[in-house]
Symmetry: D2
Subunit: 453 residues, 4 copies
């Protein structure tokens, strides 16, 4: 009965300098649950560093509640786990450079390149085998554990887990939705309906539909007030100029921001509120809309983030890690906006939670293929994640979404079967792939796969 | 924006002396919402009495928040309503006497006779046209209102609303589930895990599956503890003797109690925890199990409630109503366990709520026919009820449930089409009907319909 | 390209003295296809006998077209087969005696006991492991072969093949439907609409719905004439007296006949024409209808066939087999009514064929569970069996059919998992099982499984 | 019983000079059925002319079997019909000129413009109200009649009939498939496998999947021989040069021919054999593939048929009609390849038939939306059309097909609701619409609808 005081959590990709640090910071405030986090990573040094950082934070902020421990055997890290967290980078950033920049030679431009499109599909090709191995290990060593995936391409990674081990209890988490809740929160504050200190992100009640990074709200409210009319006003005011983001000149984060004009334009097309960053949303649309060329992208006020930019950011984080370890700097915990710990607690039966989640479509998302991983709200309770039933999205939006859902399904099956011909057919079938002749597509496909597989 | 301070609620069956009084008592404690309750009833006097009773309570306990007003035009009562509550008695109790007691001549015994079986189907025959009329009136006068049905046969009434007006926003509510939560609560207290004052019904987290009055929990927990092992122990201890109900000798309520032995026996058959009273559950089972004859019923420790018993109770309530009106007695408000007001508030956007509800199956209850009204948990939020997705029930339980779901569908379609032959076929197809030869069934059917239609 | 001139057909249960002889007789008239039949049987002697009999017939009637060859290695018999025929007796007849007669002690009476009910479920328990082994061998040695099953319980055997090897190309065949076509043919002749010599069974166009042995026609016509009005007249005339069967006094076949009164009574209940023998149909109905006791059965003019009767018949056939082998008697070929060879030819692309078939429900039988083996018409063409889409059966009929389909699914899953508790629950859930208390059911279940597993 | 000797067939669009003449010619050879064809047309003169032509042919070739009669009241033409044929031209050819040529100003090129794409959607907008009226009239005057539609856009017209009158017994017919059967037939002949006189189109057994004009064969065989390897060889030989069509220089038909290179290219992409003319197939693909500009079209060896070309052809036919009427020329009957009469006979119960047909998806085409009109094989028998169940098409092909199926559904619902905004959104969502900015799309949409609605 005291299981939640002695949890075993296996963290695959435990050397992460991103989500892992948020997790550490959140755990520092946690009172109800405790246990040990087993950090598994192919980069042993990074895992070791996080062990040091995590234990330092725990010692000072939450004495004795959680321990961090590097474990380089996946078998040992998994065995008898209650939870498994997966947050890995599939291949180094030089491979991501191929995903993002090689297609540029053929007029294909991508602001992110990790979820869909030519870049996302190529990333999927090297990620799927990793997730196949993880799924098999989980089936063998911890088949009852709840598995939380944070890795992109989110839908493909999560669906791969289910394809390989259908009995798995897994779901994918993404915080993009939170950012759009914050935009709606700001609209409310700007309208003078509430003071900033009297409203929190979670007060914005939203219903999420779609697939990861191409998600939408079909309902949004705050204290009983429908937020669609307010959004409509906002769109009328800002769809041309865009709504400036305070971080847009920040050297570390600026390239990840946008002025939300894509969201506003898609609202005009589909009638729903886009619930992911503009840079993600555009990658699911026909490239003629927003990604014809770098000028078009610029004209819509979002960045084509370069992998160089990411590499520099990564180096900075490496230095911070070293500083945290040697004590020259201190990781100061503060509660993040992440819901990971709340999800874990809900699954332990410590309080129901409704939040958005990525799981296979069992009917919760009508109009999308059954089995495809979709993103909707779900009720988390003891040992259970139950998606809520939704209405169909508008036909026009379903069209694009089905295409990506079928391509995701296709790439998973082709990659698991090792069928490069079938893989190539999926490339051809992406909206970005549509712009290439089969011969060009073949050339690009061969170059990319040669460099990254 | 202040709609929830000025609600219009139409109460069809507003002369009710049962659920209406609970509603009045609950409203006495309500601070967030206010407005007017329009009491519509074919028994004008009863509605008038409730107007008096309701306003008296409001004056003293919740000044000015809600007003009660008799309205004898259904059109006026409905027009511009935010909510419509339906809680009617379909026909007088002498008709119910036919439902319950006429079949006894053919060896068919029914402890309730209002939901299923020969009695429930006969009751449905006179109820369906009433609900057809109500649905048409709602479509005409308040198509956007949320409609809450409390009338039995629950599934049939609610499905009729949707058959007649597919765009209706309706759901059916039933509090049977709460009683089983209380049993589980008592088991926890008896185990010494918590003191009675530190636990509430709502703390028992359950997942509800099935159809109304033949509902089951497939998961139940409290503070993260799985309650199935505790229930299992309880069954081992009490399945033979039964678990005495403190009210079993109460003259007004005793006949409605049981010793939960049916629940325990069905647990052995299906592995799930029955989530309705034993007297309801048995009516969905083959009569050879628990309803062969009155002795069998007695041996399983539940009552075959007579309609005479109900008539006496009704007369008592009439007297109380008069006393409340003339001031010789006072209706003292105290918060009930009902969730009606919480549902209304959640639909107004004043806080999400997860509770069990009866709505058409859009896929939330796999294995049962689509469109059939099923009972499951649902997420209530602003202007929205979203059922959560469930696993299939065990095949063995699905079998019986499908039979009743198909019969309910059949009786609705036959009654709406005025097709008595098709109606008769449904009678033949009930587990109770199975025990009759077609000739006997015809005789019984003719007698019952002649007396009640 | 000349594959159909050099077919390899593997016959599992090749020692059969029933369907195998029909097959031999039909092959004697076949001109388009040729090859070798590999007779596999655990009864080597019986296989050998059929090798002799088959080759004798071929020598005289169809020189050189087909050869028969005993092959006692399943691997060798299967490897590179084009077709696999399965027609086995699961266990000797003394085990069947347990299936049929042991339940009689508890008031459960069965005219056949091989498809459903307590007897059919018990037979399934020993058959499922045999079919699991066959499916695995087919997956290994002849995964591309078309597999035709003639073994009962038909639905369970066929579904087991798919559960174990989802990629199998299998279907189940049953000729019960043909007999009902002949009854309709006779009605037409009796009406004077055609002379007997101008009409053939196949001229009666029927649409088949349901599950094996509980099949129905929802449409039937001849030369554009709807046969339902004629059937309706026939029922009016004969439902009380029954329609005498010319074979009812035949010592070898009489016990298998009936006077079609069940078919006529079910027509009154459901509106469709039963498309299996009365003795099969009754076993799917609540026992209170036609199987309360032997007198009830007699009163409905069908026999409770004893296993002794079957044993005697079997002995006669054994003698005939010996006589055919030693030449003291001759198997004289004449074309049967069976469609096996036509199906094989259609699958080879030698002419399309529409006929009834048992395959998993992919949607062809709405209202029945997906994946359950159902019986409907299908289009046979080169390497393909495509069921045709059907309308729902009436709700009332669907009820009973769903129950059996779910029980069949349940018994397969329980048996494959070796879960005797789950198996027992399915026993309890059969309409015959409904008549037993759990304690009685347990006793009967234990006795039967002990004697036959 | 002699209904098929005295049929009433209502021909809506009875002045047609295309399919009507084929029908007349075929009827000249028909012996089993007879009756009267009621010619209804808004062009009374054209109907009158066909009455004359039809009766002339009947007098000489099939004396007395069928009569043709102009009937200008739709009510009278429909009442008590056994069959209704719909073959209309929705609006004059000058409206079709807008469909086809106005989008050219925006770089959108269409070889046909009657099924999908900007032109097909615009044509749908004026056709849907006509089919709404027809469906309502059928519901009122001949609800039991079988309705055969030949009008384009086929899927949209047929689905509209079902949307308006769900109980209709309607299907859509298209002969495109026959042409591809003939290509396969020629491949067989060229291979020397058979002499031309020993093979007929119907001998080519095919399985049809998809939606009208974007149909594919996923199986094709002749006398048991798989035709895919032969097609594969053919593609290797001719995919670059194309396979010249003997009619490509015919002044009346040349513009409707192609060299099948699209079919071959799509085979490389999807693995299936395109079963419609190249000019139709390209309109369902992203325009970057084959329709970037007229040069691209030319380079793929198909024509962008002008509406001028159609107008000239129409004038020629008008002259022929006059000549047939005044006897200066004679319509010489010869059996066509059409299956209309065979379908009618099969529906009368005079012989089963399997052929391709357009009806709403009830599950026969997995992966495509339920309710969307799809094209597959179906079994025609007495008063019944039952589609056969199919496998999913490859994901990559499903993607494009779902998009068109959803757009067809969207345009029907928008047009029936008179919602021009929703209509515009469907325009935006067509692959051709994707190439336009919303502003351009609006301009084009406004111009086209203004000119044609």
């Amino acid at each position: 009965m005291e299981r939640h005081k002695n949890l075993k959590i296996c963290y695959i990709g435990g050397g992460s300098r991103n989500w892992a640090w948020l997790f550490i910071k959140d755990l520092a405030f946690e009172k109800e649950i405790s246990g040990t986090i087993y950090l598994y990573d192919i980069d042993a040094e990074a895992a070791k560093a996080n062990e040091t950082i995590g234990n330092k934070v725990m010692e000072t902020h939450n004495p004795g509640q959680f321990k961090f421990k590097t474990e380089l055997s996946l078998e040992k890290a998994l065995t008898d786990s209650d939870f498994v967290i997966i947050s890995i980078l599939p291949g180094k950033l030089d491979k991501m450079a191929v995903d993002v920049h090689t297609p540029e030679k053929y007029g294909i431009w991508q602001p992110v390149g990790d979820s869909t499109g030519i870049g996302g599909l190529n990333r999927a090709l090297r990620t799927i085998p990793m997730f196949r191995d993880i799924a098999q290990a989980i089936q063998k060593y911890s088949p009852k554990a709840w598995v939380i995936n944070y890795t992109n391409p989110m839908s493909i990674c999560t669906q791969t887990l289910y394809e390989v081990f259908p009995g798995i209890k897994a779901f994918g988490c993404c915080h993009e939705v939170f950012n759009i809740q914050k935009i709606l929160m700001n609209i409310i504050i700007r309208k003078g309906l509430v003071k900033a200190e009297d409203i929190k992100r979670e007060d914005i009640i939203v219903n999420v539909v779609g697939i990861n990074h191409f998600t939408f709200f079909d309902r949004a409210s705050w204290r009983g007030i429908d937020l669609f009319p307010l959004w409509d006003e906002f769109v009328k005011e800002y769809s041309e100029s865009g709504f400036p983001n305070p971080l847009e000149n920040d050297p570390d984060k600026g390239s990840f921001t946008s002025r939300e004009r894509i969201k506003m334009d898609l609202y005009k097309r589909f009638g729903l509120i886009g619930a992911a960053g503009d840079r993600h949303l555009v990658e699911f649309c026909p490239p003629s809309w927003y990604l014809k060329d770098p000028e078009t992208a610029r004209s819509w006020n979002f960045d084509l983030t370069t992998v160089d930019y990411r590499i520099k950011k990564q180096e900075k984080l490496k230095k911070m890690s070293a500083a945290y370890c040697d004590g020259s700097e201190t990781l100061v915990p503060k509660p993040s906006d992440e819901e990971g710990i709340n999800q874990i607690k809900a699954l332990l039966g410590l309080g129901n939670l409704v939040t958005n989640v990525n799981v296979p479509n069992k009917g919760q998302m009508p109009g999308l293929p059954l089995g495809a991983v979709v993103e909707t709200n779900a009720l988390f309770s003891r040992d259970s994640v139950q998606p809520v039933m939704n209405d169909c999205m508008p036909n026009t939006l379903t069209t694009l979404t089905v295409q990506h859902a079928l391509n995701q399904d296709g790439i998973i099956k082709a990659a698991l079967a090792g069928d490069m011909e079938a893989t190539f057919r999926v490339f051809l079938n992406d909206p970005q792939g549509y712009t290439l002749s089969p011969a060009q597509a073949r050339e690009l496909f061969d170059e990319m796969t040669k460099k990254t597989l």
